[in-house]
Point group: C2
Chain length 337, copies 2
């Protein structure tokens, strides 16, 4: 019996619909308690799903003949393209036909869709996008990745709660240590917004606030959750990608500079592969959109079968852990301060 029903935007991402459907089938084979609703053009999807007889009964199609492109204005697209695979998948959650939605389509459109169609959990000021990153000690969650470029202190305090709930319920961290991204550890450091957020976060009792987190310690994994406004968060997200790419290229150049180092590099290949895998933050699944009425996972645009399967698992874990309900409960505690 299917306990967890997940709607999947079958047409979102670079490899849609083939890899998306394959990922869905792989997830269904792994998790017997999952059912998937695939949104997209049924004449195109039907042959793809019919081939998987063993799990066919746990797949359902939602007719959607439009696709939201990566370059469309998110707000406009979400309003106008009601018959798009993304909007239809989200509507399944809104209408309680599914508990969670996964999409590898446009981030902006999924954000807009989550906010407009699902709405905020009562009390949530601003939903936020989060992602787990590899850390030296352990993975850490960065929230917000760019959904809110201008933030008030209260939003940041709520991001701390939502991040803490996610790390606890989905990543299994007992009592997540929450830090506030800042330019120094002292309470009086930073701009006006973070100074006020620091005070709010210190006063609340809904999660474990451990003070300011300097950007130098974030990759060490000393905090489980790092809170930032969407501007700083997006810069950290993209700088991480850029630095990893630049560092790998520089390392390669250095290794190719002499015969001995070339031999050394050849022998070390398994280590470099392991290193690259460890740096790949997509291994932790997609980016959850937290604070809306439903579990929403944004999978990477380049997601293949495995990434989609992971994103479905992640959505399943968000449902199992009751992320939405826990955020609702935690907010009540935050408000009482």
């Amino acid at each position: 019996m299917a306990e967890y029903i997940i709607a999947l935007d079958a047409m979102g991402g670079d490899n849609a619909p083939d890899a998306i459907v394959k990922g869905a089938i792989a997830a269904l084979r792994k998790y017997g308690d999952v059912k998937i609703l695939l949104a997209g053009p049924s004449q195109r999807l039907k042959p793809l799903i019919d081939s998987a007889e063993d799990v066919r009964a746990r797949m359902e199609l939602i007719e959607a003949d439009e696709v939201i492109g990566m370059d469309e204005s998110p707000m406009l697209a979400v309003r106008k393209k009601v018959n798009s695979s993304m909007v239809q998948a989200v509507l399944a959650v809104r209408e309680h036909r599914a508990g969670a939605v996964v999409s590898a389509g446009s981030t902006g459109a999924l954000l807009a869709c989550g906010m407009l169609r699902l709405g905020r959990i009562p009390g949530v000021e601003r939903p936020a996008l989060a992602s787990a990153f590899p850390g030296l000690k352990k993975p850490w969650l960065l929230i917000d990745l760019g959904a809110n470029v201008d933030c008030q202190p209260k939003y940041l305090a709520q991001f701390g709660l939502m991040g803490s709930v996610y790390m606890h319920s989905v990543m299994g961290v007992a009592d997540p240590q929450v830090g506030l991204a800042n330019i120094g550890v002292e309470a009086e450091k930073g701009n006006k917004t973070v100074r006020e957020a620091y005070a709010l976060m210190t006063a609340q009792k809904s999660y474990r606030f451990c003070g300011n987190c300097e950007a130098r310690v974030a990759p060490m994994g000393e905090f489980d959750v790092v809170v930032a406004d969407g501007f700083a968060g997006n810069i950290i997200l993209k700088y991480t990608e850029g630095m990893a790419e630049a560092m790998m290229a520089m390392l390669k150049e250095s290794l190719m500079s002499s015969f001995a180092t070339k031999i050394g590099a050849a022998l070390s290949k398994p280590a470099f592969r392991a290193f690259k895998r460890r740096l790949d933050y997509n291994a932790y699944g997609g980016a959850p959109l937290l604070g809306v009425e439903g579990a929403v996972v944004k999978a990477h645009g380049s997601s293949g079968e495995e990434a989609i399967c992971n994103a479905v698992r992640q959505a399943r874990t968000m449902l199992e852990g009751g992320v939405v309900e826990r955020i609702r409960e935690g907010l009540a505690g935050l408000e009482s301060v």
Copy 2:
């Protein structure tokens, strides 16, 4: 004949005064047109400088019997400790006994000292701290590193000018490409401040503004100058340190995981050393404080002889390139928009 007179805070930094004096002596041996004024307790410094007979004539002592500690409140320390080595070195510039000042002491104190004692170049809204970083194609300058956590659009537009002048005059870049750190390339991206800064930077003709720079492309070295407010800039600075440290540690762990990769790592050692050197942004010298009436270089607190020698060279190049004069000229162009 000494053309360039540089005041040096002989008591600033972890290795003061020995490494500082040694660095000064090394610089004097390299650059025949430099004279150095060493600020510190003369009875302690005299034996150190007397030993270097060949360049002794181009060293002078400034009596200063106090030291500003790393943990002192910058503003208080700078106001009260007039006889500190840092304040005395800066005063030498203010009184035109020297053109530039180098210190490896407290960053906050040097900022405060530069602003309070030297004052701003007329028209400069906020002096800013900058540093060159390694990039895949070429080094790039990040400005501001944290001197101004709250910025108005006009400050950012001026940082672009100051960064451009520095990269041209000191790093020899013909027509520096200036970018604005932002979360997307489009003009309408980002928070209110950066959107307005984008408009100002596009309108001016004093330097070559090339649009928004996403954090992902910064480490590629596609821009010569990346402008950010001190909050985002400080996060990038410290995240760079943290990520490099975490990545090196992860790579080491991967390399030590099997016998073959250990042998490979041993053979690749020269490449790793070259890679580490390439990542070390201190190789580009200290961090210039731009926008004040004098050339100010903040050397890293852990600077040894070589780093101090490099910082003196950098200060010399700032004087040779007329950085202060060029900022003054460029500002006139900015104002006319």
